[in-house]
């Protein structure tokens, strides 16, 4: 989780303030958008497998729904905090706005570690979370989705609880469900592919070919795995990937100079993306410290694990060869590091643009669920590419026209649309 003094919400607010200054927003509008509009804290009592009772702490924030129902993930993480949830709900508002989908921003989570919970215990947490928040979420108010350490099975348990409580079939309540149970084809790929669509477009702007580039990536979860898959299909070479080792409670980087083999790494990883180090060594991977992914001699870096990973302390270690950083995770770069990255003229694709693929496909899933008519994978992923490419190019053009960084441009464009919606509704 990184430095404990780091506060993701403060960072998100700081980035918002910068954009608000540039937009010369009035105080009332700032006040409305600096904080979530709704915030829920609740307890989820669970009977553990050994018969003990345990209470887990859960959250849900709805940052803004001026542009449509709130949308955002649910994270299960032992170091989850309300500030992280607040920050992520704000980021979701900007993300849905920059992706130009008619949704607002929300986020939620539970302080827990699924590594140490049985499936039954996880199911109880999922059902308990829904029971606590039932009245304030739903297909037309706030639509949850999977995030860190939550998966389609968790979503299905939550949906089931919601439908039991509502007495209706409402698959649009939640997204990221299994295919065939209201899930959308292409959902698994969407977030990772979305990151690479952005990189593909950035490479075009830099006149580079994917097959002449290499990459290092932090994290080996869903986003990373699909990002690696598509990047390799495009001809690129991934030489380093890092992941969390639950047993050692620290992260490691796995390096192969002539390129990792995604299939073999997937075969030796667990459901959370943790790679077995001894098996990796047998397969010829160098097992390095978890921070080594950042210092590799590559053209592209993707932080796709957690927030607060590229900081003032380590940003200088980034190789001069790096040309693109695409933020697959939420808030992986601190504002201080951001400035240094900009001074190094590295093309940075900000988080809520780079990782918008997931929420775009979530939106598609919700549309399909509400129609009860499901599209082919070609249709889902074709639309995803079109939306992502459009979003990237809109931000890029704005950035060029106004001589601003991609992050500031994306922030301004996103915030402006939300402000317009709030004003249009007469809220401010």
């Amino acid at each position: 989780m990184g430095d404990k003094s780091f506060n993701a919400f403060e960072m998100a607010q700081q980035q918002f303030d910068n954009a608000a200054d540039m937009l010369e927003l009035d105080e009332v509008t700032r006040e409305l958008l600096r904080n979530p509009m709704k915030e829920f804290h609740f307890s989820i009592p669970v009977t553990m497998d050994d018969g003990r009772k345990k209470v887990f702490r859960g959250f849900r924030c709805m940052h803004n729904d001026a542009r449509g129902p709130a949308k955002g993930g649910i994270r299960f993480h032992p170091q989850e905090t309300i500030d992280i949830v607040r920050a992520l709900s704000m980021l979701m508002t900007w993300k849905t706005s920059v992706a130009d989908i008619p949704l607002g921003g929300g986020n939620g989570g539970v302080i827990c570690d699924p590594h140490n919970l049985s499936n039954r215990e996880q199911e109880q947490i999922c059902r308990g979370w829904v029971r606590q928040i039932y009245k304030n979420v739903g297909p037309f108010t706030d639509i949850p989705a999977p995030d860190v350490m939550t998966n389609p099975q968790h979503m299905l348990w939550m949906l089931d609880e919601y439908e039991v409580m509502s007495g209706k079939k409402q698959p649009g309540f939640i997204t990221g469900k299994p295919v065939g149970m209201g899930g959308s084809l292409g959902r698994m790929e969407s977030a990772g592919y979305g990151v690479i669509i952005n990189i593909r477009e950035a490479l075009k702007k830099l006149s580079l070919k994917a097959n002449a580039t290499s990459m290092s990536i932090q994290g080996f979860g869903n986003v990373s795995q699909y990002a690696i898959e598509l990047y390799i299909q495009m001809g690129g070479k991934v030489i380093c990937v890092s992941c969390w080792d639950q047993k050692d409670e620290k992260s490691y980087s796995f390096k192969k100079e002539n390129g990792i083999d995604l299939k073999e790494l997937k075969n030796i990883s667990d459901q959370f993306g943790g790679i077995d180090k001894s098996k990796a060594e047998e397969l010829g991977y160098e097992v390095l410290d978890g921070n080594e992914w950042l210092v590799q001699e590559v053209d592209i870096l993707i932080p796709a694990a957690m927030e607060n990973q590229i900081t003032e302390d380590n940003v200088e270690k980034i190789s001069s060869r790096v040309k693109i950083i695409a933020e697959g995770a939420h808030g992986p770069t601190t504002p201080e590091a951001d400035k240094i990255i900009e001074s190094k003229e590295i093309f940075l694709i900000p988080d809520f643009l780079a990782n918008a693929g997931g929420v775009i496909c979530s939106y598609f899933e919700q549309v399909q669920c509400n129609m009860n008519y499901f599209w082919t994978k070609d249709e889902v992923l074709g639309k995803l590419d079109q939306k992502m490419t459009f979003a990237f190019n809109s931000v890029y053009q704005f950035s060029n026209k106004n001589n601003m960084s991609m992050r500031v441009s994306a922030n301004i464009m996103a915030i402006e649309k939300v402000v317009d919606a709030c004003k249009g509704r007469g809220w401010v």
Partner: protein
């Protein structure tokens, strides 16, 4: 040089682009080559005609590779599964992600009819043309909703991919001795030349030109070439339907019809168009899902026959050029060829000459044209070059005296033979029995032939095929409507005539091209042939298979065949 698709189609200066990596395939490479040639060539004398290759984008062969591997399709593709099973498996698969965004952008900006065409690695190679073996899908692409247009285009692409592994293609590979595992498919997405008339979209004129003619008529020479003209989409011609056949050197000489009424019967009466109206039944694995075949009378209201047809006056039994009067229309293209209202013939001659020079071999071209009635336009006519492929011309020196045609050991002889060369490796003869032959049963006959063909092909035994009427005609009243795969093992094909099946000598373009490229010798025996088939001898041979309409007999020695390409005579001897 060809540009990467930049998510425009018509707006780009470059009318040809590609998506993905790998090869462009034979057809696309050839079209690109001739696009450059057209730009360099001087066609200023045809200043009223816009001459070009219709805009297209190619999905290169790596996209096909990714599609096959990502969806694990090779097992079913190489299996003996039925065509429907293979085509459906392909429809259920997903295209590689890398092309989806480009395709969606393309379709969101384009709403004119599109042809989705094959462009395989091996297609259009000089000696193995694969002409008509792979699928083409025409889509109206006029739905309001871009999602629907996208879905239809994707279905079309998957259909073309699947056609690589359908029965026709597999048997073609077997017959040609090629390994299907070496084949890769690129796909061309191309605008269709034409105009919309109500619910139909079609070109005013389509055609096929060959710069070398194996069937010269009216005292012309093979080198004078031959042109088939049709109305509507070119499918009429390439499938072997009725079209107007003439030599570009003497465009006014009509084909040898016995009478005007013959001409009425034996010229084009139906035409193909793209269906722009009510969607037809959903059938993504049918090539003609969005195509209409109608009588030419339905084009009267479109006012599109005036430059092409003549009118038959029943009272005088004469033809009048044009469509100014009421009466049956005859598509003899007289206003174009005799009055030269539009210099189509001169353009075709010039173009074939250029293509021949550039390919250094005789060529076959496919084209389509539209005629605008807006005379204020600088270029009211558009000529789209759709395909250029080299033709195989066999020049082995063979000499055959006429006396040899009627010797005692002659089984079959004719002075209307296609091909050139000698052979002495055939023992098997497959023939249509004249005692049970009826033009109404030709589709059943085709099935029986296919059954025997499959057996002989698997045994690798070449054979002589004897039947009545025009082989491979899409009109089953004109002959036996076999597809190429149904007769792909035949080495010699004999087109005999009966009183009730006496059709002029001609084949569909794709069928013809395959005949010539596989160096199959083709004997045409008109009713008036001086050399009758020795049926008594054939029937005395050992009967291997005896079906209702078709028999297979075997000679215990080998038959000797001599075909003299120069004199166009040939003989098959015991």
């Amino acid at each position: 040089m060809i540009n990467e698709f930049n998510r425009t189609f018509f707006d780009d200066e470059q009318k040809i682009s590609f998506i993905g990596e790998g090869e462009l395939g034979g057809k696309a490479s050839s079209l690109k080559f001739f696009d450059d040639i057209l730009k360099e060539s001087d066609f200023t004398e045809f200043d009223e005609i816009q001459i070009d290759i219709p805009t297209f984008t190619v999905l290169r062969t790596d996209v096909f590779d990714d599609f096959m591997t990502q969806n694990d399709l090779y097992d079913i593709a190489y299996s003996d599964s039925s065509d429907d099973e293979i085509a459906l498996a392909f429809q259920n698969a997903s295209l590689p992600f890398s092309v989806l965004g480009d395709l969606r952008e393309l379709i969101s900006k384009v709403n004119v009819p599109l042809a989705i065409r094959s462009s395989s690695m091996l297609e259009d190679a000089k000696y193995k043309p694969f002409a008509g073996i792979y699928g083409t899908k025409m889509i109206p692409n006029n739905q309001f909703d871009s999602d629907t247009r996208f879905t239809k285009m994707v279905e079309g692409i998957k259909y073309v991919y699947a056609s690589t592994f359908l029965k026709d293609a597999k048997e073609y590979f077997t017959a040609s001795g090629l390994d299907i595992r070496t084949e890769k498919m690129a796909v061309i997405i191309q605008e269709i030349i034409g105009n919309r008339y109500g619910d139909k979209f079609y070109p005013n004129l389509s055609g096929v030109g060959k710069s070398y003619n194996y069937y010269p008529i009216n005292d012309t020479l093979p080198e004078d070439g031959v042109i088939n003209l049709g109305f509507g989409l070119g499918k009429t011609i390439v499938d072997g339907g009725f079209s107007w056949i003439y030599c570009p050197k003497c465009p006014n000489k009509k084909p040898p019809f016995g009478s005007v009424t013959d001409m009425l019967k034996l010229t084009q009466t139906e035409f193909w168009s793209v269906n722009m109206g009510e969607p037809s039944a959903y059938d993504p694995i049918k090539e003609t899902e969005y195509m209409l075949k109608e009588n030419i009378h339905s084009a009267e209201e479109d006012n599109t026959l005036q430059n092409l047809a003549s009118t038959y006056d029943h009272a005088t039994e004469r033809l009048t050029m044009g469509t100014g009067r009421d009466g049956a229309r005859v598509l003899n293209f007289a206003p174009l060829l005799s009055l030269e209202l539009i210099p189509v013939n001169d353009l075709l001659k010039s173009l074939m000459k250029v293509c021949e020079e550039k390919m250094n071999s005789p060529v076959e071209i496919e084209f389509a044209m539209t005629f605008s009635q807006d005379s204020s336009l600088e270029k009211p006519y558009r000529f789209g070059l759709l395909q250029v492929r080299p033709m195989v011309v066999n020049d082995t020196d063979v000499s055959l005296e006429r006396s040899e045609l009627s010797s005692e050991d002659t089984v079959i002889a004719s002075e209307h033979v296609l091909g050139n060369g000698t052979s002495s490796n055939i023992q098997d003869i497959v023939f249509v029995k004249h005692e049970t032959f009826d033009p109404a049963n030709t589709k059943l006959i085709a099935k029986e032939i296919a059954e025997i063909n499959t057996k002989l092909l698997s045994e690798k035994k070449p054979y002589i095929l004897i039947g009545y009427g025009r082989w491979g005609s899409s009109d089953h009243w004109l002959g036996i409507p076999v597809t190429w795969s149904q007769i792909s093992g035949a080495s010699i094909i004999v087109e005999a005539s009966l009183e009730n099946m006496n059709i002029e000598f001609s084949q569909g373009s794709h069928f013809f091209h395959n005949l010539t490229s596989f160096k199959i010798q083709y004997f045409y025996l008109p009713l008036s042939n001086d050399f009758p088939i020795d049926w008594d001898w054939i029937r005395s041979l050992e009967h291997i298979t005896d079906l209702e309409f078709v028999s297979h007999v075997k000679y215990d020695k080998t038959l000797k065949t001599i075909v003299d390409g120069k004199s166009r005579s040939g003989v098959i001897k015991k």
